[in-house]
Each structure stands twice: as structure tokens, then as C-alpha cells.
């Protein structure tokens, strides 16, 4: 582990930096489901007895910020490198979720064009009764510019 990355890890990993209330709109996740090609009516039909969001829907829920306010500026442009979701319990129409974000991992890979820094931001989602219903990870890659 490079010293500069270890220092960032020590300072920022697992420190919550954002909390947001998210109102879940059934029409929004029904349209998401149809556009993505879901056929099961429990994801597309608000009148279905078990109407719920498909597990991947939580990747569309975003916080107020993706990194801590005092996170250092890295020397490169960030790009969306991937999304991961973990389903724990159903998310339904008109639920109010609380999204709590922290940096879950910071690591590097070095290729022919130099070092790439990966930042994994995790939003943990909780229902109104405090049940942990899902995790949504965003993986950002910063391809560092050559110095000098």
C-alpha cells in the first residue's frame, strides 16, 4: 500500500460523511423496471400485492455528496467505474429511507499509463424502523496525471 493512500485510508475509511432522507416513489421504480426489461409484475405493477423495487434500483439513489467535504483533491479526473448493490429487505412504494454514506474502500492499481486510485463510496439504507434494507456502492476511479 502506497504511503499517501494509506494516510487517506487511515483518515477517511468508515467515517460517515453524509446522511439523507429518501422518499421512495413506486412509479419511479416501476418505470425503471420496465425500461430495464423486467417482466415480473411485482416490479412493474403498483397494484401487485407484492409490489417492490428490484434490487438494483437502489443504485439510482444518490446522496448529497459522494466524498467527504475535506477529502483531498487527487491529481486526475474521476470516472464511474462500477456499481454494486446488496439486497437485504424489500423496498416498497412510499417508504422513507435514510441513506448514510461512508468511504468503504480505497485502493490502487498500476497500469502502463500509471496509477489509478479507486474510491468505493457505500450508502447504507435504513427503513423508518431502523431496519438495514440495502447497501449501494459506487466505485470511482481516478486515473492520475503524470507529474512533472
Amino acid at each position: 500500500m502506497d504511503d499517501d493512500i494509506q494516510a487517506i485510508r487511515d483518515q477517511f475509511l468508515n467515517q460517515e460523511f453524509d446522511e439523507i432522507k429518501l422518499e421512495i416513489d413506486g412509479q419511479r421504480f416501476a418505470e425503471y423496471s420496465k425500461a430495464c426489461g423486467e417482466l415480473d409484475e411485482k416490479y412493474t405493477d403498483p397494484n401487485h400485492a407484492d409490489f417492490q423495487a428490484p434490487p438494483t434500483f437502489v443504485a439510482t439513489l444518490v446522496g448529497r455528496r459522494n466524498l467527504p467535504e475535506d477529502f483531498p483533491q487527487l491529481n486526475g479526473v474521476g470516472m464511474d467505474a462500477g456499481k454494486a448493490v446488496e439486497w437485504i429487505a424489500p423496498i416498497r412504494d412510499k417508504m422513507t429511507l435514510t441513506g448514510k454514506s461512508h468511504l468503504h474502500d480505497i485502493y490502487t492499481k498500476t497500469g502502463r499509463s500509471g496509477r489509478m486510485v479507486f474510491l468505493v463510496t457505500r450508502m447504507e439504507l435504513y427503513s423508518e424502523d431502523g431496519t438495514h434494507v440495502a447497501n449501494a456502492d459506487t466505485r470511482t476511479v481516478i486515473r492520475e496525471r503524470p507529474s512533472g
Binding site: Q27, C36, K83
Partner: protein, 139 residues
């Protein structure tokens, strides 16, 4: 290759999921943008995307991930997706045909869980998105 499976015993190591051709049309992406978000020009307007340096409009990453989930549900309607991890290797282009393929890579009988590798490729058979999923099935 079965079109659909219902329970864990229907699945074998190496089972290929039925290929899925997602709707990458501009009309569908604009609808996604209207109701879900990601309605910016790079996703909904080829010319605007070119001005940003892309070859044309691109599918939002969250929509590509949704395609993967839909593919699994079409194959295994009784499945509960527990985890799905998606790596965006290159843009999925709007209005261009893409194919999604998947293969079972592990079966955990104690937990009724199946692991699947999923790939989105374009017409040139270039990988655009890679994913892995863990699903749970009835015994």
C-alpha cells in the same frame, strides 16, 4: 439451456442463462431519463454526447446494471438477487445492439445460493460491462 428455472436443483455448474438483448433505443433511454433520472444530453442526445467527446449517446451505468438484474429475473423468476456487482469497462452505446450473456460459476447448496458471471457485449463482441451476482433460490 432451460429458458427458466424455479429452484436450486434446476441449476448446474456452467449453466448458461438465455441471452438477453436489452432495449438500448434512444426512446427507451429518454423514458428512463424522464422518470428515473440521468436525462442529460450525453445519455439522451447523440449530438450532445459527441460534443462531450463520446461517439454518441451512452446508456447510464445504473440502467446497464438494471439490464443485468432483469436478465436474471427473466431466467429465474423465483430468485432473490442478494448481491450484484457491476464493472463499467466501456460505454454501452445507445441505438446499438448489445447482448447480455451469463453463466453459473458456483453453487452453494447449504445456502441455496448461485453465483453468476454476466457480460454485456456489443456487436463487435467487445466487453462493455462485466458483472457478478449472487442469487438465492428455493431448494
Amino acid at each position: 439451456m432451460a429458458d427458466q428455472i424455479a429452484k436450486l436443483t434446476d441449476v448446474e455448474f456452467g449453466t448458461e442463462l438465455p441471452a438477453f438483448d436489452p432495449d438500448t433505443s434512444l426512446e427507451n433511454v429518454r423514458r428512463f431519463g424522464k422518470y428515473v433520472g440521468w436525462g442529460g444530453g450525453r445519455f439522451t442526445d447523440h449530438e450532445a454526447a459527441r460534443k462531450e467527446g463520446f461517439p454518441g449517446a451512452i446508456i447510464p451505468g445504473v440502467m446497464s446494471q438494471g439490464f443485468l438484474g432483469a436478465m436474471i429475473h427473466r431466467w429465474a423468476p423465483t430468485a432473490q438477487i442478494k448481491i450484484i456487482d457491476t464493472i463499467f469497462r466501456a460505454p454501452v452505446m445507445v441505438d446499438q445492439p448489445h447482448k447480455i450473456t451469463g453463466v453459473v460459476t458456483n453453487i452453494e447448496e447449504d445456502d441455496n445460493e448461485v453465483e453468476i458471471d454476466i457480460t454485456i457485449t456489443n456487436e463487435a463482441n467487445e466487453t462493455r460491462v462485466q458483472g457478478t451476482a449472487t442469487i438465492q433460490l428455493p431448494a
